[in-house]
């Protein structure tokens, strides 16, 4: 029994039954398949993270965000500036307690270098209803090349707990058709 010492003293020499061997081989091959699937997707799939990231001081990041807002704001929505950066440019989104700053307006079918960083705590970038989720750290600037392929209004939710107002932390991205 499993709660007593093995009945065969030399248990490591016992033959292994065919059923077990077949299952071990199948499970091993399945593991290899899943492993190479991730690598294959880096070559052929459309959804991969870039591996591009920089260390950044929170105040430096805030300066970049301010510069972008000063250059490309197209309108104001409540407290939020709505920024429409040129396609292909660096777009800086800032996480802070408790907002995603500023609002962005992107063009459908164009690519952008989206930067994500926080100036205080860790936050979770969660773009809804698409359900794209990325972690945002203070001190790290993560760059993702993003190409919106559907137009409309998208909500950004915070999905990393960041204090008692966590559930009020939201933002918005508009995707408009090319003009």
């Amino acid at each position: 029994m499993a709660i007593t010492p093995p009945s065969e003293r030399i248990w490591w020499n016992e033959p292994v039954h065919k059923v077990e061997i077949i299952w071990i081989v199948i499970a091993f091959l399945w593991g290899i398949t899943m492993f190479f699937m991730m690598i294959w997707w880096h070559g052929t799939g459309q959804q991969n993270l870039s591996n591009e990231a920089y260390r950044v001081q929170p105040f430096q990041y805030a300066e970049k965000v301010d510069a972008m807002i000063a250059a490309h704001t197209v309108r104001q929505e409540g407290a939020f500036p709505v920024v429409k950066p040129p396609p292909g440019s660096d777009v800086y989104l800032m996480a802070r307690v408790y907002m995603w700053w500023p609002m962005l307006e992107l063009e459908k079918g164009q690519s952008y270098r989206l930067h994500l960083s926080s100036i205080d705590l860790q936050h979770g970038f969660s773009l809804q209803p698409l359900n794209i989720n990325m972690q945002v750290h203070p001190g790290y600037d993560m760059v993702v090349n993003i190409t919106p392929t559907t137009s409309g209004e998208f909500g950004i939710v915070c999905n990393e707990y960041c204090g008692l107002g966590h559930h009020t932390m939201t933002g918005r991205i508009y995707v408009v058709d090319r003009t």
């Binding site: 499993a2 009945s7 959804q47 205080d120 860790q122 209803p129 989720n133 972690q135």
Partner: protein, 566 residues
């Protein structure tokens, strides 16, 4: 029969039981159950707050309760129970005395003080930082200090366990190799040492930081090392509850491992590869490369998953073989139909096995795929997954073995047998619902650790679909059911331990349909010889494999529908 040496001989199993080990098993198990009660109540309040129509707690209380829930059940209940398992699998199963009982009591006192200190810190309201306490979010210094004491206590417990193995070997209290269950416990203890060391490496500087002695803790480094504790501690649970599955199969049905070599190799794969899982929490993080993520998240080509898939065949396979040896040979599934489903130890164990594999295992591997993590990270899918592994898997397995620990170690009859009989089903179904509906809500994008997904107080609004709200309501209903199952467990165990009819020194207990020596004789003849027939298990494993493959590729398809990212 208490002898002068402090041993008694168990009339049911024939094992020599050291009274110091027995007392420590009792103390650790009782404290574990108390914290299960506290943590379970916090959990219920969290689920009822998520249910939009009920929304019972205000925001500050919700985050406090969620922090306390994670600590009390994920850490305190489980590690205390694992200490009891370590002492059982070493001293009791090996007929040995417990090494250094005083140190073992130091383990108990340190862990209990640590748990109390951290709980008080959380209840004071200034440490609602969640179980993970990601920096730069800061809790009171007492929060970290309590955790450090708890970890040091657990480390001492592991040392006593290893010491007991040495004593048993030295004093030749058993013949040949250690039993498979003890081997599983050794796996758990080795992983525990790695885990607790990671905890110390990150929590001690964080404690100093909270006192103002260190100015900065890098948030990414914190996450990497913290999850060396946070995720690896779940691997202690896996090893421990797989050992418990084997133990219950043996004690209730006299099941013998199909192959000692295969089952032990599977445990060895855990020791070698499970600790890489910190990466599961860093898949959508800046600053770590894709190569690092792919190698680590897959436990080096899924070799630890291979270990679990092996146990997924060998645990039910050994039960099928034992049942067939007793004559339940008709068709493919007579062995399963005529299994002792009215025995809560067996029922809990089998439900734990099935739900851990189908719900927890598959969802974990899929979510841990580098790119697929993008559509699941930090959504409710994550707690959906780990409630299937830690609650349906570990907690249910621990509940199941309690029904054997009460007669064997506490030497009391189990009270309220009818309630005990249905308890695993009520709890199991409740947890299955919690897990499935949280995963469903997560697939729809609902964030975890979030008080209000209607965003009533937010600056800009976003509306989740009605389906998401329905999922949260169903989650609340099934949480009530799981809470009922938990209450039944606590009622049965606490009353039995304190008021159950005593079992005499020479009285034998019937643990299952066939136990003890006659069962061992009945199943001793099968093994790896060519006569082994387990067609029912092969079918079940086949169903599992097909579900796994389908669900895996369905999620790649979901991912492919996202906006292009590179």
């Amino acid at each position: 029969m208490n002898t002068k040496s402090g041993f008694r001989t168990c009339p049911t199993t024939g094992l020599k039981v050291h009274s110091a080990a027995e007392n420590l098993i009792k103390a650790n198990a009782v404290v574990a159950v108390v914290f299960l009660l506290i943590g379970g109540l916090f959990g219920l309040s969290v689920a009822l707050t998520r249910w939009p129509a009920v929304h019972i707690l205000p925001a500050e209380w919700f985050y406090l309760a969620l922090t306390a829930h994670g600590l009390d059940v994920l850490l305190v209940w489980i590690i205390f129970f694992e200490m009891a398992i370590l002492y059982f699998a070493s001293a009791v199963l090996l007929n040995s005395r417990l090494a250094a009982p005083r140190w073992a009591w130091a383990q108990f006192v340190l862990m209990l003080s640590g748990a109390l200190i951290t709980n008080v810190a959380v209840l004071q309201g200034n440490s609602s930082v969640m179980f993970t306490s990601y920096v730069p979010l800061q809790a009171s210094p007492w929060f970290y200090l309590g955790l450090i004491l708890f970890a040091v206590g657990a480390l001492i417990g592991c040392a006593v366990f290893f010491g007991t193995l040495v004593v048993a070997k030295d004093e030749k209290t058993y013949q040949g190799s250690v039993p498979l269950v003890t081997f599983g416990a050794i796996t758990a203890a080795i992983i525990a040492v790695f885990t607790l060391a990671s905890g110390a490496i990150i929590l001690i500087p964080t404690y100093l930081w909270s006192l103002g002695l260190i100015s900065n803790i890098d948030p990414l480094m914190y996450k990497l090392v913290w999850w060396g504790m946070g995720h690896s501690s779940q691997q202690i649970n896996v090893s421990a509850h797989v050992a418990v599955w084997y133990a219950i199969g043996a004690m209730v049905l006299g099941a013998k491992p199909i192959s000692e070599k295969v089952s032990r190799t599977a445990f060895l794969l855990y020791i070698l590869f499970l600790q890489l899982a910190s990466a599961h929490h860093l898949l959508v993080e800046p600053g770590v490369s894709s190569s690092w993520k792919i190698f680590n998240t897959s436990y080096a080509m899924y070799l630890a998953v291979l270990g679990s898939m092996i146990h997924g065949l060998t645990v039910p396979g050994s039960i099928e073989a034992a049942q067939r040896a007793k004559g339940f040979n008709k068709g493919m599934f007579e062995w399963l139909r005529k299994a002792p489903w009215g025995n809560p130890a067996f029922a809990g164990m089998f439900l734990s096995l099935v739900m851990f594999g189908f719900l927890g295992g598959i969802s974990g591997v899929v979510m841990g795929t580098e790119q697929i993590n993008l559509i699941m990270h930090n959504t409710l899918y994550v707690p959906g997954h780990f409630h299937a592994t830690v609650v349906a898997g570990t907690t249910l397995a621990f509940m199941a073995i309690t029904y054997l620990v009460i007669p064997l170690i506490f030497r009391r009859h189990v009270m309220f047998p009818t309630i005990a009989r249905i308890q695993p089903y009520v709890f199991g179904l409740g947890v299955a619902g919690i897990s499935l509906f949280m995963m469903g809500a997560g697939t729809l994008g609902v964030p975890r650790r979030h008080w209000d997904i209607t965003f009533a107080d937010a600056l800009t609004s976003f509306e989740f679909s009605n389906a998401a709200f329905l999922m949260l309501a169903l989650n609340g209903i099934f949480a009530c059911m799981a809470a009922l199952g938990g209450a039944m467990y606590i009622l049965v165990t606490v009353s039995s331990v304190f008021f159950g009819r005593r079992i005499g020194d020479t009285e034998k207990v019937q643990l299952g349909p066939a136990t003890g020596t006659q069962a061992a004789a009945a199943v001793a003849s099968y093994g790896s010889a060519g006569t082994l027939k387990i067609p029912g298990t092969v079918t079940l494993v086949g169903v599992f494999f097909v579900s796994f493959v389908l669900y895996y590729f369905v999620n790649w398809k979901y991912l492919a529908e996202l906006w292009p990212l590179k």
